[in-house]
């Protein structure tokens, strides 16, 4: 969860924060662009799952955890993520 300063004197968590902000703006831009379709929805969902994994690994500190407790957050992202993907694919057919 907490690290020493790295590149450009910033902590890794600061880089992750900036990346999360940037990915959020990308998600919003895709929505604002008025682009429709399954590919957009699944792309946006992928970005959300990636952001969730970054929060789990770097903010919640799970990156340095080994064993059982390493996986619940990742599984939480994958299982509902898979169900939502399935529902959106079925809705688009």
């Amino acid at each position: 969860m907490v690290e020493k300063k790295g590149a450009r004197g910033l902590r890794p968590c600061t880089w992750v924060w900036l990346l999360l902000m940037a990915l959020t703006v990308v998600t919003w831009s895709l929505g604002r662009a008025g682009v429709h379709g399954l590919a957009l929805s699944l792309g946006v969902l992928f970005l959300a799952l990636l952001k969730g994994q970054l929060v789990g690994d770097f903010f919640m500190g799970l990156r340095s955890v080994r064993g059982f407790w390493r996986w619940p957050v990742s599984l939480w992202l994958l299982i509902p993520g898979g169900l939502v993907t399935t529902a959106f694919i079925l809705a688009a057919r």
Binding site: V2, V25, G52, F59
Partner: protein
């Protein structure tokens, strides 16, 4: 009690990136976090499968939501989480005052989230929209208000941690309470990161 026994009884400080068997904070909060995440997973899946029945209705009413407000709220929660990470970093460096400052900044971000979300609700209510308007709004209000309540609980926990930190209740050796509060807050952020695209963007 001799010093060695005291050392065993004291919470173990987590340092660096060495592997750990357990996540930061009290294990009980993690059991609670997993239970909360499970409930939200059911909510998200229910939303997606309910949408299957009438995607046109969901798309039509999703367009009435403010993506700008949702963007600001997402950036606000991410920033609050970052501030909480910095609060944990500060107490691990034995900087109680820094820890309190970062926690207060996170609380400010949490308050901003509540103000923006309340303004969204007020706008919907002024248009006569409610949970019973249609199935989309039923999910929208249920999901976002359930999350709204979690933000309030997270702020109460962070405020309690900040008060104890202000009184010097945590140190570089004993800061499990700060990690426990931080873990809960990050869960609140994590849930919103999925809720935002699902309810506001994906169509």
């Amino acid at each position: 009690m001799d010093a060695s026994v005291n050392a065993l009884a004291a919470p173990v400080a987590r340092t660096g990136e060495a592997p750990h068997r357990y996540p930061p904070g009290d294990l009980a909060i993690w059991v609670f976090i997993l239970a909360e995440l499970l409930v939200f997973a059911v909510f998200f899946s229910a939303y997606a499968f309910a949408r299957m029945g009438d995607p046109a209705l969901f798309n039509q009413y999703q367009a009435t939501l403010s993506q700008n407000a949702a963007l600001v709220n997402t950036l606000t929660l991410i920033t609050a989480s970052y501030f909480v990470v910095r609060a944990v970093a500060a107490i691990r460096e034995d900087d109680s005052r820094g820890c309190v400052r970062w926690l207060l900044a996170a609380l400010g971000m949490g308050a901003l989230f509540l103000v923006i979300k309340s303004a969204e609700y007020a706008h919907h209510f002024s248009l006569g929209v409610s949970m019973s308007t249609n199935r989309f709004y039923m999910f929208y209000f249920s999901l976002t208000f359930f999350h709204f309540m979690h933000v309030i609980l997270g702020m109460v926990i962070l405020a309690a941690v900040a008060l104890k930190a202000r009184r010097g209740g945590y140190s570089a050796v004993d800061h499990r309470g700060v990690e426990t509060g931080a873990s809960y807050w990050h869960m609140v952020d994590l849930v919103w990161l999925i809720l935002f695209p699902l309810v506001y963007v994906m169509h």
